[in-house]
Symmetry: none
Subunit: 223 residues, 2 copies
């Protein structure tokens, strides 16, 4: 049983999802626009947010960005076929999955459950990562080592955030650059190295968790 937030301006869609979600045993809150969604998402701790990408005023991307400044709540995005494929992909950093409209509620629920499971099994997703003396509070955007706060620059934090979120996976340079800098970054090849270096410096002894995969990229790994 998990706590979901459904964000869509069409009541028909909200009802459809709510019906199925409740049938699956989840509890459901609803928001009808982006502003409301941000407010609710920050106020409450949801296990998952299901959100339409196309909404009047504040669209799904902006909502996602706002929430991600503070929280790590998993987000599934709904979009019309083909719509914004590139943007969704370029924005993948914050989106956990997306489903094309019109969708089958069954399929949506499969994904809902998959995302919740992946995020750590429901009942309030973790906004925190802890390994030995290292902890990352996604919500507060604070990294601490042995209780000591570590100051990170925005890029450092974003890079680290992305690596921690995708820990245990080999991340190629292209992947890291496109996800942290954006698919339209055409800067120097060595920029990533420089930031990895800075990040390692910030992480002190825990820099060992960032493993260099020569010729490939990097991997953040815990034990």
């Amino acid at each position: 049983m998990s706590k979901l937030l459904i964000v869509d301006d069409e009541s028909r869609i909200r009802e459809l999802i709510r019906k199925y979600a409740i049938f699956e045993g989840h509890s459901v809150d609803e928001a009808t626009d982006g502003m409301q969604a941000v407010r609710m998402a920050l106020q409450e701790d949801y296990d998952l947010i299901i959100m339409d990408i196309m909404m009047p005023e504040l669209d799904g991307f902006s909502v996602c960005r706002e929430i991600r400044k503070v929280k790590n709540t998993p987000i599934i995005v709904l979009s019309a076929r083909g719509e914004e494929y590139d943007r969704i992909h370029g924005f993948e950093m914050g989106i956990d999955d997306y489903v094309v409209k019109p969708f089958s509620p069954k399929e949506l629920m499969l994904r809902v459950n998959a995302v919740i499971k992946r995020a750590g099994g429901g009942s309030i997703s973790k906004d925190e990562f802890v390994y030995e003396g290292l902890s990352v509070d996604f919500r507060a955007r604070i990294v601490t080592i042995d209780g000591q706060r570590v100051d990170m620059t925005p890029k450092e934090y974003e890079l680290f955030f992305y690596m921690v979120r995708n820990r245990g996976i080999a991340l190629t340079r292209e992947n890291l650059i496109s996800k942290v800098w954006g698919y339209d970054f055409f800067g120097d090849d060595r920029t990533l190295d420089t930031h990895i270096k800075l990040l390692r410096k910030s992480l002190g002894e825990y820099s060992r968790l960032i493993v260099t995969l020569r010729g490939v990229g990097y991997r953040f790994e815990t034990g």
Copy 2:
């Protein structure tokens, strides 16, 4: 019972395959275009993907390439008679089998079962290969022997991954070189031998799984 993904833009074909697949006891998801296929394939862990090669927008080759960047899910390709024979063969790296349209559903199911069996028996194919004390995590790019991490160089990994993905099949020298080094490699003949040697060294006792086919190439075989 395995989990399949059927990708075809023609609903008639999807229905035909689904009917037979369900009759065989598999569960079935469907995608109607390449984009959706990639999304679904990356999101869910399918035991097998059955995909038409000719699709509007993103064709089967591109879909295969995208999926292969991340996952090792077996793929069977459907193609019209004679169509793209060479490309399919040249693309052997990612495709596990192919069936010519029009096909008999019975034959397709035979191949489906064969591929699933070959891939390790169904019920959620992992991005992991395990045999006795040897395991390969494709996503993390990690090889372990008896729980001990094995360090491999990029080329070693690539060669090994390719061989594991195509296990049980005789791989010619030309095939290995063109797939791992690229079709435009014009280096020394002995380069492959050298890397096989290094790989065997890394694999220790499991080097026995790499069988030399004199005058042909090599085969990675498990039991």
